[in-house]
Amino acid sequence: MKKKSKKRVVSLIIMVGIIIGIFSFSAIAKTTLNVLATKPQSTVIDNFGPQWEKVSGVKINKIEIPYPVLFDKVMTDFITGTRAYDLICVPADWMGDLAGGGWLMPLDKLKNEYGYPEWKDVTPAIQKVVKWAGKMYALPFDGDCHNFYYRKDALENPKYQAKFEKEYGYRYNVPPKTWKEVRDIAKFFNGWDWDNDGEIEHGIEFIAKRKTQAQWSLIDLAAQYTVLHGKTDKYHGVLFFDPETMEPLINTPGWIEAMKMLHELTKYGPPGLLSYGYSENRITFVKGTCAMVFDWGDIGVMEQNPKKYGSTVKGLVGYSPLPGAKKVWDRKENKWLSKYSQTNFLDFGGWVWVIPKTSKDPGQAYKFITYVTNPKRSLQEVTGEVYCGANPWRFSHFTGLDEWIKAGWSKKSATAYLKAIRSILNDPEAALDLRIPGSNEYYDYLDLYLSKVLAGKMSAENACKKISEIWENITKKYGKKRQLNIYRESLGLKPLE
């Protein structure tokens, strides 16, 4: 009996030893990269991760979380020193907190060591957003800007155009040139079956739900009423703060007008508009519920893929940069300037990949991203062939039309879509997103008070006044001088003495 139990103990120890050995061997044999991303950006790992694992022998461990908690998770990891992630996909406008906070690894050294696939092919706007204080801190993945989409079968219909002219006393432009025009068109097309599919359609939709990036819907409009074109200085080319005093500009007539207009647009959208995040916004538009929408380039990709996204509007959508305004607020003269103004705005700045300073294997992390974003693979991503939320950002994305057609686009649609995006990314006066430390907090309060205005619970004037006060406090918290100089740098201005 004793002998038997001794044997059992010995064999148990051997078995445990073997199991531990196997696990240790596999751990030694394969480095694991912990990659944090939200959906759909994380799908790039599903698409190209297995291929790269075979090539490199490095294992990819995908960690997927929802967008509203991405900033919280990333910063908590950095502050507590958990070192849980080797590579993270983040919005470029977080550079102020991430690179400015000293949490990221500068990538210039890795770029020199391992090279970068066709750096000259990256558009200047995107080359700019991956840098912070002159150093490269992120790897490009996406070329973000908001586009304006409209249903050609509605807006280009001569019968409807004539009817509109009779009702409103003027003929609208296609695509609409101003937000006022957009409002009238939205009103005209709201609440009736203009595409004869037996369902009631609506005028316009946009991202309006709290905590789902609704602030960018507002900034799309605010840029038109606020930004004075010209060489960037105290009064020109600025959107968020006075670049000499760091005084918030949100409590100025331009922003207030934009907020009022956005609130007005909610009247001509679907009843559930205030529950629309980016997912709802995209899916409902491609299902044919609205005449107009403004959003990132993803809508184009979804429109072209009826099988995957249930699109009923393939080929029926027109694309353009954002509409402008017939007046713009002149802060210097303290009055409205009556002239047409249109400002392109690089909302979000695009998704980029960053390597934390604490990454266990920065070299492999760098190699993985340059592998999945080389010209060939990134073209497959932006055309939607392997959709992962990325929009065109390399010059070659705008010229490789065959790949777009291979991904299911018609030549006409692809050409029009790329023309709209290219005109925004190539615009030297395009306004950049807020890229200073605390941008997440500044924007969360903007989002909170915007949601009050959109729900009709607060006036635009009061909301802008309140946001301005809060922004002042956030600036004070981060240090006014520091914030001012970082903001100036983001605008391409020299720091103040």
Partner: protein, 292 residues
């Protein structure tokens, strides 16, 4: 010495010791640490520097409109869910306490919502309540009723979250009250029947008083749990529309883990704790008084 270690009076402490250590490390220490932090201005995102500001954070809470708005919603939410769940739970428990066919089947069915994780419940109800494409509105329209803006109307959205909570947590009340009902002494009911008491009288004058201790406990447990509302706000409305469904827990989370204002978040947590404690003591005292 060895005898001392082995002595019976000490042995019980050896068993309790791990729990005490765990409790000190995981509960007491963080609470004291948070209390200390609440007197400091510490923006963890900027750096490790902490500035002592005394009661500054608490003073700021008094002036914080967002805090008062969120407190108002949280109190409304807790009051509503506790009252509705208790009433429904009591009614259903009385029904299921009777003998009828498929009684066990219904008992199990009613328990199902409670077994789902709240975040999954939030995802499910977000889809059900979606004003344009949600199943609930589709059904309402199918029977000729108007659309309801479940998650987009600032006056309806708070009620929508109450509905979700009632759906998920009424079974908890039901389960506990049913167990209590089944352990009631039958002789009292027999005596009441002999005295000619009606069903209603029996329920009001015998069942309710006998259930009072368990009702007190359940009300407290549900209230404390409901105060911690986070998942439904996060998963269904994101705190909107117009910030009308932002709970106090969600606000503390935002201050602490989105803006990293650790000092202010700690002060908010302590105020939150004191509010919950105060209300719990008040409820306990009033119900005890009632029971006497």
């Amino acid at each position: 010495m060895l005898e001392k270690i082995k002595s019976k009076s000490l042995i019980k402490w050896y068993f309790i010791l791990p729990t005490i250590i765990f409790f000190l490390i995981m509960v007491i220490f963080p609470m004291i640490w948070a209390l200390r932090l609440s007197f400091f201005n510490w923006h963890a995102i900027i750096g490790p520097r902490m500035d002592f500001i005394g009661l500054g954070n608490f003073y700021n809470i008094l002036k914080d409109e967002r805090f008062w708005g969120d407190l108002q919603f949280t109190l409304f939410y807790v009051g509503m869910v506790v009252i509705i769940e208790l009433s429904l739970g009591l009614g259903l428990a009385s029904l299921l306490n009777r003998k009828f066919r498929f009684r066990n089947f219904f008992r199990i069915i009613y328990l199902l919502p409670m077994t789902a994780p709240p975040i999954a419940v939030a995802a499910l109800w977000r889809m059900l309540l979606q004003p344009d494409e949600g199943v609930i509105n589709k059904l309402l329209v199918a029977v000729g009723l108007p659309l309801v803006k479940w998650t987009t109307d600032p006056s309806i959205a708070p009620i929508s979250l109450v509905i979700v909570d009632v759906w998920q947590w009424t079974p908890f009340m039901l389960l506990a009250l049913l167990a209590a009902l089944q352990s009631m002494p039958q002789d009292i009911y027999d005596a009441a029947a002999v005295d000619g008491a009606s069903r209603g009288q029996t329920f009001l004058h015998i069942t309710i008083p006998l259930l009072s201790p368990i009702i007190t406990t359940l009300v407290l447990l549900r209230a404390i749990d409901a105060f911690k509302l986070f998942e439904y706000t996060y998963g269904i409305t994101g705190g909107g529309p117009a910030g009308k469904t932002e709970s106090l827990s969600y606000y503390i989370y935002s201050q602490g883990l989105s803006y990293f204002n650790m000092g202010y978040a700690s002060a908010l947590s302590w105020v939150f704790l004191l509010i919950v404690l105060g209300i719990s003591l008040f409820v306990l005292k009033s119900m005890r008084k009632e029971m006497r």
